[in-house]
Each structure stands twice: as structure tokens, then as C-alpha cells.
């Protein structure tokens, strides 16, 4: 026996590595657990990547309200491969959110949450929300203008909680206003508190994967019966099971490696998200917008009827969490195949369409005034001085921030390119003077002459 082999044998004997790990690695899994099973492990690989790159970033980051932004500039522009490191952490976060979503959808449409894996689902749901919390607190740690305003928006949401809302918001921000404690708090949430919970829950989640076994691919008509399932599953493993390592695990390893390589590739190619303005809440010419995975929620806030919005902000998340946690208690037996559970598949489609529609419209943000629109009177030339005056007013009075004419302007209100065809001067006047729910009343803002000039211009658009 070689010298090194001897050393290894000694270490292995005294530490029990093989004795503990090998049975786990070699444990039997159902046959045919193929490519649809790689998303959970891909999430785990992303998580490990996030921990590792997060540690790397923590070596360069200054967690204080005063210095965080400067250290971000340092990491991005000066540190060796700092921009790539930031990029990996950013795309790793995106990957983790993506795969946690796909993993959850896979588990849901194949009903893997049914007996005896209810606790796998429950711990997974908590991990989903912790992952989102990590995404939110992480983008905020850039501590640029977006970071500052993200923390304010979060505090505003929490303040909607009845009675204790203001207190929760103050605890979140570390005070009644943005200040010296705010960034440290979010650093602590993002680097210590939430990761600690995640380590525990990821460990528990994996332990449950071993304890309850990987769910076998569903077959239409093969029902889950809690009375007999465990025995049947053990029998299946004994008869047809294959060792996890390497028969099944090679797919996880391959997919995980491709995911990590892609993330690094994206980081090299695109780099980290650009920093916005410094974290100075008195800089008001900023347009706060969260990272893409928060956009659907951000969009929802713009689209909800204002009357019920405050209630939805509080009740919505509670109902969502409750419904997800309740799922395995509502149905823990019976059919697992998506072919026999069309409503589950249909429901998943609806949720996906909902989320992606919100993401799509959120990226366009048609509800936001388009402050950077180019003045229409500089885009379209006219020889008619009356029209010219109307155009100037159309821009200066803010109309153009929300209305388009010939492709110039915002999208909040209707396009007015051809408004003169359908609206007469009187209708236009009434609308401009009185406004409505989504448009300010300009009655006290415009002089009579200005109103006439504006109306003459709009009525001529045909």
C-alpha cells in the first residue's frame, strides 16, 4: 500500500468520511429520473456560487452607508476582475431565481409534494421566499440611488401592516429615515441573517431528499396512497433502483457545470449592472427601478386599483404564502401525472403568463412620465405660429410626458396623433380643464389663451 493511501486510510477511518458519505452518494434512486430532475441541484449550485462569490465581494466591499457606493465603484472599475466577480454574483442571483422557479414548477406539475414529501415542499416554499429576500436585499447593497429608493419602497410596503407597520419599517431601515444604520442593516440581513436561515433550510431540504427519496417520475393512473406508498417505494428501489452517484448524478453535475460556465460567460460578456447615482436621497432626478426579478411586483403596484392597493400589499403576500404552504395538506394523495391533472398545468400556465406579462409591461413602464422625451416642437417643424405655440405648451405643461404624438412622448395616456379626428374642441377643453382619475385637471394651470392654443393644436391633429 502506498504512503498516501495509508494516510488517506487513517484519515478516513478516524473521520468516517467514506462511511458517512458513500451511502448517501450511492443511495438508490428510482430509474428514469432524468433531465427534469436537474433544476433543484442547479439551484443548489447557484446557491453555492452565490456564497463563494459573495465571500469574494465581502473582501472588497465596505458595508457602511457612507462608503458602500465608493467601494462598489472601486470593485467595478479598479479591483482585479472585480466587475466580473460582481457580474457572476448578479447573474448567479438571476440564475438562482430562475431555477428555483423552474424547480418549483416541476415539483408542482408532477405533484412531487404529495405524501410523504409534504415537508420537502414546505421547506422549499420558505426557501423560495428567502431567495427572493436575498435578491431584493442584494440589489440594494449596491447602495446607489436605486439601492436607497428600494429600501424606501420596502419600508413603505411594510408600513401598510396595521398597527405595527411603522415599527417594522423603522426596524427594517434602522431608523425613521435613511441614514447611518440603513446600509449596515441590509448588509446584516443579506450576509448573515437570511443566509443562516438558508443554510439550515437547504440542509433540511437535502436531508429530506435522502429521507423521503427522490420522487419517481409519475405515471398516469399510478396513485399515491399514503398507507402503502412508502412500502411500494422501497420495493421499487430494491427492484429497479440505481445508485444516485454516478448513474443519476452525472446529469446534475453536467447541467450544474454548464449553468456555472454560462453565468461566468455572461458576467465576462455583459459585466455587472451599472451603478446609478450616489446614495443621496436629496438627488430627486432619478428613476428608481429594481432588478428584473423584482419588476413584476413593481409593475403590479402601478396597475392595481389604488383603492384596494394598500390592502393587497398586506394581504397578497400573506395569502400567497398561506396558499403555498397549505397545498400539500389540501391534496397529499392520488394522481401525480400532469396528464391527469390538467387544471394544475393550466393554473401554472396562467401564473406564468401573469408574471411574464407583468415583467414585460414593467420593463416598458408605460405608467411612468417620460421625463426624457424630446420636445415635440423641436421634432416636428411647422410654419404656423399658432400650432407652434400649441406644441410648445404640449411639451412644457407636461402633456408630452404622458401622451404621444407621432411617436414622441410617454405612454401613460392615449396617443393623440389623430385626436382631432374624433374629438372636437369642446370635448378637448372639458377634458383638459377637468382631467380625470389618471390626468391632472389643468383648469387652474393654463391661462385662457394657453388653453385655446393647446386645443387648437390638438384639434388640428388629424
Amino acid at each position: 500500500m502506498g504512503f498516501f493511501k495509508k494516510i488517506w486510510n487513517w484519515i478516513d477511518d478516524r473521520s468516517g468520511i467514506s462511511e458517512t458519505i458513500m451511502p448517501l452518494a450511492k443511495h438508490l434512486v428510482p430509474p428514469a429520473s432524468k433531465w427534469s430532475y436537474v433544476f433543484g441541484s442547479a439551484t443548489l449550485f447557484c446557491f453555492i456560487l452565490q456564497v463563494a462569490t459573495g465571500i469574494g465581494l465581502s473582501l472588497l466591499y465596505q458595508p457602511s452607508s457612507q462608503n458602500a457606493y465608493h467601494s462598489l465603484e472601486y470593485i467595478t472599475n479598479q479591483a482585479f476582475l472585480g466587475n466580473v466577480l460582481r457580474g457572476i454574483h448578479y447573474f448567479g442571483a438571476s440564475g438562482m431565481i430562475l431555477f428555483v422557479g423552474i424547480h418549483m414548477i416541476r415539483v408542482y406539475i408532477t405533484a412531487s409534494y404529495k405524501f410523504p414529501r409534504e415537508m420537502n415542499w414546505i421547506s422549499g416554499v420558505i426557501l423560495l421566499f428567502l431567495t427572493i429576500a436575498m435578491g431584493f436585499t442584494g440589489q440594494l447593497l449596491r447602495w446607489d440611488a436605486n439601492g436607497v429608493w428600494s429600501s424606501v419602497v420596502a419600508a413603505e410596503q411594510l408600513s401598510r401592516v396595521p398597527i405595527i407597520g411603522t415599527y417594522i419599517a423603522d426596524v427594517l431601515l434602522g431608523g425613521q429615515a435613511i441614514g447611518e444604520h440603513t446600509l449596515n442593516r441590509f448588509f446584516s440581513y443579506h450576509v448573515f441573517i437570511i443566509p443562516a436561515m438558508m443554510f439550515i433550510l437547504v440542509g433540511f431540504h437535502l436531508f429530506l431528499v435522502f429521507r423521503n427519496g427522490i420522487s419517481e417520475p409519475p405515471k398516469p393512473g399510478r396513485l399515491v396512497d399514503p398507507k402503502t406508498y412508502r412500502k411500494w417505494y422501497q420495493h421499487l428501489l430494491a427492484k429497479k433502483g440505481v445508485p444516485f452517484w454516478p448513474n443519476a448524478a452525472w446529469r446534475d453535475a453536467l447541467f450544474g457545470a454548464v449553468v456555472v460556465i454560462c453565468i461566468v460567460g455572461l458576467a465576462i460578456f455583459f459585466g455587472a449592472p451599472k451603478l446609478t447615482q450616489p446614495p443621496d436621497p436629496s438627488i430627486i432626478t432619478t428613476t428608481p427601478s429594481p432588478d428584473w426579478y423584482m419588476i413584476p411586483i413593481f409593475a403590479l403596484f402601478a396597475l392595481m386599483p389604488p383603492k384596494i392597493e394598500s390592502y393587497i400589499i398586506v394581504i397578497g403576500p400573506l395569502v400567497t404564502i398561506f396558499a403555498l404552504l397549505a397545498l400539500p395538506f389540501l391534496s397529499n394523495s392520488g394522481e401525480r401525472s400532469p396528464l391527469r391533472r390538467p387544471w394544475a398545468v393550466f393554473g401554472t400556465f396562467l401564473v406564468l403568463i401573469f408574471v411574464f406579462s407583468l415583467l414585460y409591461i414593467g420593463l416598458k413602464a408605460p405608467w411612468s412620465p417620460k421625463f426624457d422625451t424630446k420636445p415635440i416642437y423641436k421634432q416636428i417643424k411647422t410654419n404656423n405660429p399658432d400650432m407652434e405655440k400649441g406644441m410648445v405648451l404640449f411639451y412644457k405643461k407636461g402633456c408630452q410626458y404622458c401622451h404621444q404624438i407621432k411617436g414622441h412622448g410617454g405612454m401613460k395616456g392615449p396617443d393623440l396623433t389623430l385626436i382631432g379626428r374624433t374629438w372636437d374642441k369642446n370635448q378637448l377643453k372639458v377634458q383638459i380643464i377637468n382631467g380625470n382619475k389618471n390626468m391632472p385637471a389643468y383648469g387652474s394651470i393654463l391661462t385662457k389663451d394657453e388653453l385655446n392654443q393647446l386645443v387648437n393644436y390638438l384639434a388640428a391633429l388629424r
Binding site: 457602511s64 452607508s65 457612507q66 447602495w143 436607497v148 429608493w149 424606501v152 419602497v153 419600508a155 413603505e156 410596503q157 408600513s159 401598510r160 401592516v161 407597520g165 411603522t166 415599527y167 423603522d170 426596524v171 431601515l173 434602522g174 431608523g175 425613521q176 429615515a177 435613511i178 441614514g179 447611518e180 444604520h181 440603513t182 450616489p278 446614495p279 443621496d280 436621497p281 436629496s282 438627488i283 430627486i284 428613476t287 428608481p288 427601478s289 413593481f298 403596484f301 402601478a302 389604488p306 392597493e309 394598500s310 400589499i313 398586506v314 405608467w367 411612468s368 412620465p369 421625463f371 412644457k396 405643461k397 407636461g398 410626458y401 401613460k412 382631467g435 391632472p440 385637471a441 394651470i445
Partner: protein
């Protein structure tokens, strides 16, 4: 010497409660200061302060101007994060009004559009009139106001917490 298993049921009970109880007390003692750190913002609330934002003559009648001041936190390590903005309006009758820059919808910074005489929010399209009342969009209430006073020829604004909107607003 007695065998371990022979200890009486009541003694086992006592040892169990003793261990858990003592462990609990130890955890509690160590935990209180930790919770103290977590809830620090509720325990130690700073006082709000008056800040000079300019001379009386800096603000023309009928104009709305951006003012910047440091919020109630004094420590240098807050950096620029401790700055606040407000919109100071010198009304025609010589009185002042100072609006918080935070939209009442979700707190984003509203900007004053001078020609349009409107405050507009970039986030979700909230719009307010020059007196701070809602003109359009999702905001549930008027812009919050800071206290303003004129002191020895200076205009002073009193710092305030970030205006948080309640569910009933």
C-alpha cells in the same frame, strides 16, 4: 454506586427541566442584547431638528424650489445617505409650505415640473398639484409636509421621519 438507569422518575424529570431551564436562561441573557441591537431603532429614537435651508430672500414669492438638508442623524458615517430633500413653496401671501419629496404611494422622489406646476413621480406615475394634493395616479393622499418657520431672516425646516403611508390612508 447506583447505575444511571436507576435514577428515579422524579429526578429524571427534575434534571430534564433543570437542563432546559438553565439553558433557556443562558440563551435569554445572551439574547436580550442581541434583540436590543435588532430593535435599536425603536428604543433609541433621535430628536427631530430645525435645519436652516436658506435666507428668506432666497425664495421668491409664488415659486416652488428644491431644498436639501441633513436629516436628524448627525453621525458622519451616514455620508450623503442622511440627506433629505423637500419642495419649499413660498406662497403668494408670504407663507411657506414645505413638501416632502417622498411620494405617498411608495416613497419615490417626486420632482417639480415648473411650467406644468405639477409634482410628478417617476416610479408609478403619481401626480400632485402645487398645493400637494393628488392630481392623478395611484397616490392615496396628499404629499406630506415638513414644518417650516422663519427665524432671524432664515427659513428653517424641521426634519421628520420618512413619511410612511398607512393602510387606511
Amino acid at each position: 454506586m447506583k447505575q444511571e438507569k436507576e435514577i428515579s422518575e422524579s429526578r429524571r424529570n427534575f434534571l430534564m427541566k433543570f437542563s432546559l431551564g438553565l439553558g433557556g436562561i443562558a440563551a435569554l441573557l445572551a439574547g436580550i442584547p442581541i434583540l436590543g441591537a435588532l430593535f435599536q431603532p425603536l428604543i433609541k429614537k433621535g430628536e427631530q431638528k430645525w435645519r436652516v435651508v436658506g435666507k428668506l430672500t432666497d425664495f421668491a414669492k409664488g415659486e416652488t424650489q428644491l431644498i436639501k438638508f441633513r436629516n436628524a442623524e448627525e453621525d458622519a458615517w451616514a455620508g450623503v445617505s442622511a440627506k433629505s430633500a423637500g419642495w419649499l413653496r413660498h406662497k403668494e401671501n408670504g407663507e411657506f409650505e414645505c413638501f416632502s419629496a417622498n411620494c405617498t404611494h411608495l416613497g419615490c422622489p417626486v420632482r417639480w415640473e415648473k411650467d406644468a406646476e405639477l409634482f410628478m413621480c417617476p416610479c408609478h406615475g403619481g401626480v400632485y398639484y402645487k398645493d400637494g394634493t393628488v392630481a392623478a395616479g395611484p397616490p392615496p393622499k396628499s404629499l406630506t409636509q415638513y414644518s417650516v418657520r422663519v427665524n432671524k431672516g432664515n427659513v428653517e425646516v424641521k426634519t421628520a421621519p420618512i413619511p410612511l403611508t398607512k393602510i387606511t390612508a
